[in-house]
């Protein structure tokens, strides 16, 4: 493995130099004590090249680069001031406030990893993860919108899109067009590659027919990445990714789902009734869609894991502030009872453990290491912790946690989706076990 890394090194150095930021080329003892002891975080690479990190001094997982800290500060402030007051209303209305979407674009949150030349912020993957987490502390619905848009849609275009697609769409995805990722269908969820939506070649391009289900962002989105099978006889190897614009003839939103949680995030059934798209709307290559979907979802899981740790932290903080400042029983703050304190301590420890998994997975991805198992573990555990902590938080707050004011009960409802989308918990367990077996099996 190390020899592969070494041969890749010159390429990596070129890629890094291109970003015009002094990152890996100067890696060495000299770096110790500099502000960026973790240089990986300030690179803008987005291919999965392995990077030689043997000489980078290790730092705590919680150590963030200056940019990531600025990201956290700015997003946290924005989320608390602008989104915070609207959370309850958006949840009750089951709709995203359009001004929130507008402001997410203004803040640059919809183009975190899109390079500056396309109008994005040109930040690194972990910065996006930090932003997703900060948003989820306040509202997991807004967080998932930003997550899907950035980690699935933008990344898909950046990585697989043709030059024309990039030039046309990246500036819009960074500034005014919400994206959506359409994979699931009524008959295919965990078994994603059983999808039935069909694509056929036409003289000028492709024709898509079929239907998609449980599609996040579909109300707000104008840009859809649609997976369809171009040749069912080839099985999953016929799956191909296409770009479909809202308003294309034959494309329609059939139904908006009413959900248990993340209600402000739209989830719809989509119909594709002989939707004709031009040749240029092919994303990447024909028959490669399954590979793209796997790769994107592997990364996307880190985003969902970040959403879940953010959610857990938000629910925790909300309750901890209440029990340690407001609520008194038997003459003392309820947070001062040992029975409460032990639960609070246990919960925070679990959140910290989940975050460590999330950040480690993100750093491994940035370093170009294999992160599939790490992402699966992070998503599995973070969603479990989110469910547990947000549930306990309601109990700590008693009546105030159970009422539909504040965010306590909402966080718990929102946490449920963590075990379901972008790979259910059982699928994560299967992935982890499969990789473990590979490691330990001798045959």
């Amino acid at each position: 493995m190390s020899s592969i890394i070494k041969t890749l090194r010159p390429a990596v150095q070129r890629a890094t130099a291109y970003t015009a930021r002094p990152a890996l080329r100067t890696a060495g003892v000299r770096r110790i004590g500099q502000q960026h002891a973790r240089p990986l975080s300030s690179t803008a690479r987005r291919r999965n090249e392995a990077v030689d990190i043997s000489e980078v001094p290790p730092t705590p997982i919680t150590h963030l680069s200056e940019i990531e800290v600025a990201m956290a500060d700015s997003v946290s402030k924005f989320a608390n001031d602008i989104i915070g007051p609207k959370v309850r209303e958006m949840d009750e209305n089951e709709a995203m406030d359009p001004t929130v979407v507008e402001q997410l674009f203004e803040q640059g949150l919809m183009g975190v990893e899109i390079p500056e030349e396309y109008g994005g912020a040109g930040m690194n993957f972990t910065a996006a993860i930090v932003g997703i987490e900060e948003l989820a502390r306040v509202d997991p619905s807004v967080s998932v919108m930003v997550d899907v848009h950035n980690t699935l849609v933008n990344t898909a275009v950046l990585r697989y899109g043709s030059t024309e697609l990039k030039k046309k769409w990246l500036p819009r995805l960074a500034t005014d067009t919400v994206g959506s990722f359409c994979l699931s269908e009524p008959i295919s969820g965990s078994d994603a590659f059983a999808l039935a939506t069909k694509a056929t070649k036409t003289d000028s391009g492709y024709k898509i027919s079929g239907g998609k289900m449980w599609i996040t962002n579909s109300v707000e989105a104008n840009f859809f990445i649609v997976f369809a099978n171009l040749d069912h006889s080839k099985g999953y190897k016929g799956i191909t990714a296409f770009v479909v614009e809202k308003g294309t003839k034959g494309f329609s939103i059939a139904k908006k789902e009413k959900k248990l949680g993340i209600k402000a995030s739209s989830t719809c059934v989509l119909n594709f009734d002989d939707v004709e798209i031009p040749k240029g709307n092919l994303l990447g290559e024909e028959g490669q869609g399954y590979k793209y979907a796997i790769a994107l979802l592997n990364e996307g899981r880190i985003g969902i894991a970040a959403q879940m740790t953010g959610l857990a932290l938000g629910a925790f903080e909300n309750a901890a502030k209440y029990v340690w400042n407001d609520r008194k029983q038997f003459g003392q703050l309820v947070g001062d009872f040992q029975g409460m304190q032990h639960q609070i301590a246990q919960s925070y420890t679990e959140i910290a453990a989940a975050r460590a998994l999330v950040y480690n997975a993100a750093r491994k991805k940035e370093a170009g290491e294999d992160f599939v198992q790490d992402a699966a573990m992070a998503k599995l555990y973070a969603s479990q912790v989110a469910g547990r902590v947000s549930g306990l938080a309601i109990e700590w707050m008693g009546g105030m946690g159970f009422v539909r004011e504040g965010i306590a009960e909402k966080m718990w409802r929102d946490s449920k989706i963590g075990a379901i989308y972008e790979g259910t918990s059982n699928i994560q367990l299967t992935t982890i076990a499969k990789l473990l077996k590979k490691q330990y099996s001798t045959s």
Binding site: A70, E106, Q107, G108, E116, G120, A121, N325
Partner: protein, 279 residues
């Protein structure tokens, strides 16, 4: 008259009172830019963006005096729109008195040929509210404090500053060069957008020492007594003369608040007011 050169001094502060206003946050609390300083950065950037000064703005320089970590708020200032920064580094925990800061600012103003200084009216940690006034005194410049609106006259010289006072708005008119301090309603500061955070990373922070600016940061105030540990707002009882003569400061606890009462109706209110001898 040429384009405006604006200096915006900013301070890194630690918010003291938590949201529930029941305790002071200490451990793990993030430092941030003094809120009044965010207003002054915002105002400077708006003067540039809205072209409200007839000859435009040539440069906005952010300045801070504080520990190495203060560089963070300079980055924030630059992400909001300042062009570059100057940082006078001090040791963590050192408290620099307003007069020393004013003297540093005077040196920077002269060095950088600044013609407008926009400061927060006070910092939320020691609430001295003196730096802007002292700076204007040291420079012999006009000053307008607690600004709620700043506008410029067509001649490129006159500055009209409105401030909110009891019972209305006071309008003052003076001329450049000038010191303006920002009040809460001057504007609504923007959030640093992500692309601007990235751009700020490429902007320059110049480090300079107090000695290089010829300023002695030594203390001239002596703390006599501190009452209470955290919960009470410190209050400056005595100020000091601009000549730098020593003066004493007392930190004191404000009297505890009495709970209010409710009255049923207007008659009840009148009876209550009579009881209190107010009417």
């Amino acid at each position: 008259m040429s384009a405006l050169r604006i200096l915006v001094p900013v301070k890194r502060v630690k918010p003291r009172v938590n949201k529930a206003q029941t305790a002071v946050e200490t451990a793990g609390v993030k430092h941030s830019m003094n809120p009044f300083d965010e207003l002054s950065i915002e105002e400077s950037v708006r003067i540039r963006e809205k072209k409200s000064y007839p000859h435009g703005v040539s440069e906005i320089i952010a300045f801070t005096c504080g520990p190495p970590k203060s560089a963070d708020i300079l980055r924030t200032a630059m992400a909001m729109g300042a062009d570059r920064s100057i940082h006078v580094e001090t040791k963590e925990g050192d408290e620099i008195e307003p007069l020393s800061v004013a003297k540093l600012l005077r040196a920077v103003v002269q060095k950088e040929k600044v013609d407008l200084v926009v400061l927060g009216k006070q910092s939320i940690d020691d609430d001295a509210g003196q730096t802007g006034q002292m700076l204007a005194g040291l420079l012999g410049w006009a000053q307008a404090t607690q600004a709620s609106k700043v506008s410029f006259e067509g001649d490129g010289k006159g500055v009209v500053v409105e401030k909110e006072v009891d019972g209305g708005t006071e309008t003052t008119r003076s001329h450049l060069p000038m010191v303006v301090t920002a009040d809460l309603r001057l504007n609504e500061p923007r959030y640093a957008s992500l692309p601007n955070i990235m751009k700020a990373k490429k902007k320059k922070i110049e480090k300079i020492t107090a000695e290089e600016l010829g300023v002695d940061l030594g203390k001239r105030l002596k703390t006599l007594k501190v009452i209470g540990k955290w919960k009470w707002k410190r209050k400056w009882i005595l100020n000091m003369g601009l000549d730098g003569t020593s003066a004493n400061t007392i930190f004191a606890e404000p009297p505890p608040r009495q709970g209010g009462g409710k009255v049923e109706d207007v008659d009840g209110m009148i009876t209550k007011l009579k009881e209190l001898g107010a009417i």
